[in-house]
């Protein structure tokens, strides 16, 4: 029985992908999805149908670059790496995310 997983809150997927790719240094789509799942202690489930549109979006924006390589099983895969502008973008998003979550936490704090 798979544990219950929460879908990723809308709008944060790009940030999660950037962060994950930054940590992995390099990874293909499946690895990124799995890394997000593992890193969130199996709580966050990347809806696999939205991963590839997001990756394409980030490629176009220039925040990720993709290079084709071989997996351990010798299969062709596109490996994503974060770019300098991707790191800058990640910093901006993390910063704003932190401010928002601190604010939300303050509101929700029991009186």
């Amino acid at each position: 029985m798979a544990p219950t997983r929460d879908p990723i809150p809308p709008g944060t997927l790009d940030m999660l992908i950037l962060q994950t790719v930054a940590r992995l240094r390099e990874g293909h789509g499946f690895e990124i999805a799995e890394a997000i799942r593992r890193a969130s202690a199996e709580v966050l489930q990347v809806e696999e149908g939205s991963l590839y549109p997001a990756l394409q979006r980030l490629l176009i924006k220039g925040w990720l670059v993709g290079t084709w390589g071989r997996t351990d099983e010798n299969r062709k895969a596109r490996y994503y790496r974060i770019t300098a502008s991707g790191k800058k973008q990640l910093a901006v998003e993390l910063d704003s995310y932190r401010r928002v979550s601190v604010a939300i936490a303050a509101v929700l704090r029991p009186a």
């Binding site: 293909h28 789509g29 499946f30 999805a33 799995e34 696999e48 149908g49 991963l51 590839y52 549109p53 990756l55 394409q56 979006r57 490629l59 176009i60 924006k61 220039g62 084709w68 997996t71 299969r75 062709k76 895969a77 596109r78 502008s85």
Partner: protein
């Protein structure tokens, strides 16, 4: 910078999009396989793992598509694909495609053609710089004789020019003709007579040489001429002409300039000669005794057009009221004031050029718009029919992951391709229509602003095609793309069919109502046209030839002209078969465009009327018998009614009756006002209906003797029991034997003259009838298609009913009753709306009330007949089906 690099990456993707798509697919495939492997490792069976991994990723096609959306070029890509798909589908269904394209070609073609006329008449700016500042000064006249008729004296052209800088340029012009006689066979050309500032006012200056200089306008100056580009090329082969002389009417004119190509204002002018100010008879009587002179002006940049108009009117009223008491009859004064208040003192040139036809053009354009709506309704209907048939295809595509928006776009692409095809076909036919539409507009307008298919018209047609494509295709696309996967794949079409059925019937109802409107319009015009054709014009036109003569020696003394006319008449009358020969300064049935105010000086007390506008003509005594116009009372003119004799006049019967109900018009005095002595009425002629019929009241017709003031150009009319050809050669021989150098032009049979005078009405009627017939055909086709398609879908039901014992009559009723109701409602609504809207056409009707019952009844009869055939024919066919066959096919 980063934005630019985003676009760069997009462009790269677009250029290698096939490879990029393949990569994306490979990536997704890898993901699915890795996922399946993970699941198997967790203990799932290979089949379950494969299924689950696919489910987690969702529809693969849709995922690729959504990922590619990020590229931003998806739209371009999709469009290409849509077009390819649409093209394939349309080619497969040639019948459907043909029906839609032809339907749209009719609608778009007709609307585009009428737009080209509308564009020429009122939308496209005249080809002059700042045409909006160029206008006709209605209250300003150019006095044409040294002893002006004070009646005509309003503001002078010089007064307008001096109006405190309101106008930067003011000019007067008139169109006339001169004989170009520096050659073996003299040629009559159209000549614009214009004051020296004319070219500057219009804003177009000669391409070669110069325009008119101030001294060219002095009566004593040497004669100069500016040639049109076309005359220069045609007659002089474009060779160096500056400083050369050409001879017109036996006078030598020095060529000083050539206008740019295409400039022919006013009225297809071949050349321009200066008109002097003040205008003296000596330099002005080049072609007619009275040329209609128009004063135009260009408003200064510092003044608004509205302000210029008001300032001019105030100045004019001031001038008029300042004149000595008794200069004007009070009734004439108020008439002047009314006219200028009504028309405005400054009327944009374009408005005056096409004025009397604009209503007809607008109305016809509105009719083509209705026709287009009907065509669109039909196309929508055909597409809805297709929707039912392709429901299965759409269902499959939805299953395979096509999103609804994408499907709608695909379907709209198809309908836009169809409408562009229709527009293309329509535009291909438009040149034929344009030739025909020229008859709708007056030549004065066409010489400046021709009807043509240009970039504007093409842009209009393209826009129309896009709007039509989306407009007609929208509902079918939305309907077709509804997710009915289950029902569609199950093969049960009736759900979709039933939903679109109501909409399709509504469309037929709208089509029928609009068609009714068009039919009523056409019926009213047709009825009017018949009335005009049946009207006794009061003259006999058979075997009457007319020709125009402009005297080469226009400086000849008037007596000389009379002698020549007499000589020509004598030669003609000597020919056996020729019964009568006459002359007139103008022909009946030719638009003369000017009314002359007159009053009866000593009318019976109590019947004193305000001054009234009249048509006036100068005719010889022979004019009446030549055209078969009886003199009812008194006498005709003779050669003795010359300038030395007391002035006399002949009036037409309605005028005599109106002012002298007791029938004693003879001997009374009629005055055109001013200083000229009143003329004694010596005869009453029968009425000639030469005005374009349809006015509220007849315009009085006055005749004055040609011998008193022989004009410099005349029309000859001759009646004879000879063939047209014999009459023609008789006229040519007679004129040439009197003067070899005399050009004869515009030789036409009187019947043709009368026929041509009705051209605008005939064109209106023909176009309207054409549009109505097309609308009727489209509406009938639409009705037929809806019933036959609905019946085809219910064939099985019909078969079962027939097997259970339903009679054919029952089945026919079953197949047709729903639509028959809609058609009946459509006709009723259409007749109701027509009844209310008919007034709009009132000015185009003749002896037909807008609510003419016979017309409405005829329209009803035509509609009911056509509707019966269109509904019953397919219903009967459906009811004839053999139940066994029908059931077996399913």
């Amino acid at each position: 910078m980063s934005r630019l690099s985003v676009w760069w990456r997009r462009l790269v993707l677009l250029l290698r999009r096939d490879r990029a798509t393949a990569e994306l697919e490979a990536e997704i495939r890898l993901h699915r396989e890795l996922r399946a492997a993970t699941l198997r490792k967790d203990g799932a069976s290979p089949a379950d793992a494969g299924f689950a991994s696919a489910r987690l990723l969702g529809n693969a096609g849709s995922l690729v598509e959504r990922s590619r959306d990020a590229w931003g070029f998806a739209a371009v890509d999709d469009l290409r694909q849509d077009i390819r798909l649409a093209w394939r589908r349309l080619r497969q269904r040639a019948g459907y495609t043909g029906a839609v394209v032809i339907t749209l070609a009719l609608g778009i073609g007709a609307t585009t053609a009428m737009f080209s006329a509308l564009d020429a008449a009122m939308l496209r700016p005249l080809p002059f710089p700042h045409p909006e500042r160029l206008g006709v000064l209605t209250a300003v006249r150019t006095p044409f004789r040294p002893t002006p008729r004070t009646l005509d004296r309003m503001l002078d052209i010089t007064d307008a020019a001096d109006l405190g800088g309101v106008f930067s340029h003011v000019a007067a012009y008139a169109s006339g003709g001169l004989n170009l006689d520096d050659r073996d066979h003299p040629l009559h050309i159209k000549v614009g007579l214009a004051t020296v500032d004319f070219f500057h006012t219009v804003g177009v200056i000669p391409q070669v040489g110069r325009g008119f200089a101030t001294e060219d306008g002095l009566p004593s100056s040497a004669r100069v001429v500016v040639l049109s580009w076309s005359l220069w090329q045609r007659e002089y082969g474009g060779r160096q002409m500056l400083g050369q002389s050409i001879v017109m009417n036996h006078q030598s004119y020095a060529v000083v300039g050539v206008m740019p190509r295409g400039f022919a204002f006013p009225d297809q002018s071949d050349a321009w000669v200066p008109m002097s100010i003040p205008i003296s008879a000596a330099t002005f009587e080049a072609s007619h005794t009275a040329l209609i002179t128009t004063v135009i002006a260009r408003v200064s940049d510092s003044v608004t057009v509205e302000r210029a108009s008001v300032l001019l009117r105030l100045r004019w009223e001031q001038a008029l009221l300042a004149q000595p008491k008794g200069t004007h009859q009070p009734s004439m004064l108020s008439r002047y004031l009314d006219d200028v208040h009504r028309l405005g003192a400054f009327v944009p040139l374009q408005a005056t050029l096409g004025a009397n036809r604009v209503t007809a053009v607008k109305l016809l354009f509105a009719m083509t718009a209705l026709l287009l709506v009907i065509a669109c309704a039909n196309v929508t209907n055909l597409m809805l029919g297709q929707a039912t048939m392709r429901a299965r295809e759409i269902g499959v595509r939805q299953m395979l992951g096509a999103r609804r928006g994408r499907l709608i776009r695909q379907l709209l692409t198809e309908s836009v391709i169809l409408s562009l095809g229709g527009a293309l076909l329509g535009i291909a036919l438009a040149p034929i229509a344009v030739g025909f539409l020229r008859q709708l507009l007056p030549p004065e307008l066409l010489s400046v602003s021709p009807v043509r298919i240009d970039a504007r018209v093409l842009a209009f047609a393209t826009a129309l095609a896009l709007v039509t494509g989306v407009g007609a295709g929208w509902w079918p696309a939305v309907r077709t793309s509804v997710d009915t996967t289950h029902a569609n794949l199950g093969g049960n079409r009736s759900a979709t069919a039933r939903r679109s059925g109501a909409l399709r019937r509504l469309l037929v109802g709208v089509e029928i109502a609009l068609t009714t409107l068009l039919l009523v319009g056409a019926g009213l015009l047709l009825h009017s046209f018949q009335n005009v054709a049946r009207t006794d014009r009061g003259l006999r036109t058979a075997h009457v030839i007319t020709a125009h003569l402009a005297y080469p020696r226009w400086e000849d003394n008037p007596r000389g002209r009379l002698v020549k006319m007499r000589a020509i008449a004598d030669r003609l009358e000597a020919i056996p078969g020729i019964a009568a020969v006459g002359f007139a300064n103008d022909l009946a049935f030719v638009d003369r465009g000017i009314l002359m105010n007159f009053i009866i000086v000593d009318s019976v007390p109590g019947t004193l009327q305000p001054a009234e506008g009249s048509h006036w003509m100068m005719v010889s005594g022979g004019y009446f018998p030549a055209l078969g116009i009886p003199i009812i009372q008194g006498r005709t003119f003779t050669m003795a009614d010359d300038s030395a004799a007391p002035p006399v006049a002949i009036v037409d019967r309605s005028t005599a009756r109106k002012y002298f109900p007791n029938g004693d018009a003879l001997g009374h005095l009629i005055s055109l006002g001013g200083n000229d002595p009143p003329a004694t009425i010596v005869g009453v002629a029968a009425d000639v209906l030469d005005e374009e019929p349809g006015r509220d009241s007849r315009i009085p017709q006055l005749y004055f003797p040609l011998a008193a003031t022989p004009p410099a150009s005349v029309s000859l009319v001759a009646r004879g029991a000879l063939t047209d050809r014999q009459l023609q050669s008789a006229v040519l021989t007679a004129v040439r034997s009197v003067d070899r150098t005399q050009p004869v032009y515009d030789i036409r049979m009187m019947q043709d003259v009368v026929h041509d005078s009705g051209a605008p009405r005939r064109t209106n009627m023909e176009l309207m009838t054409l549009f109505a017939v097309l609308a009727l055909a489209l509406a009938a086709f639409g009705t037929y298609a809806v019933i036959s398609q609905a019946a085809a879908q219910r064939q099985r039901e019909f078969g079962i009913r027939a097997a259970l014992g339903a009679q054919r009559g029952d089945l026919i009723l079953l197949a047709s009753h729903e639509l028959a109701w809609v058609v009946a409602v459509g006709i009723t609504v259409g007749l109701g709306v027509s009844w209310m809207a008919a007034r709009a056409a009132a000015t185009m009707l003749y002896h037909v009330a807008p609510h003419d019952l016979p017309t409405f009844a005829a329209v009803l009869a035509v509609l009911v007949t056509v509707a019966l055939v269109a509904t019953l024919a397919p219903a009967i066919r459906a009811a004839r089906a053999n139940p066994a066959d029908v059931i077996r096919t399913e």
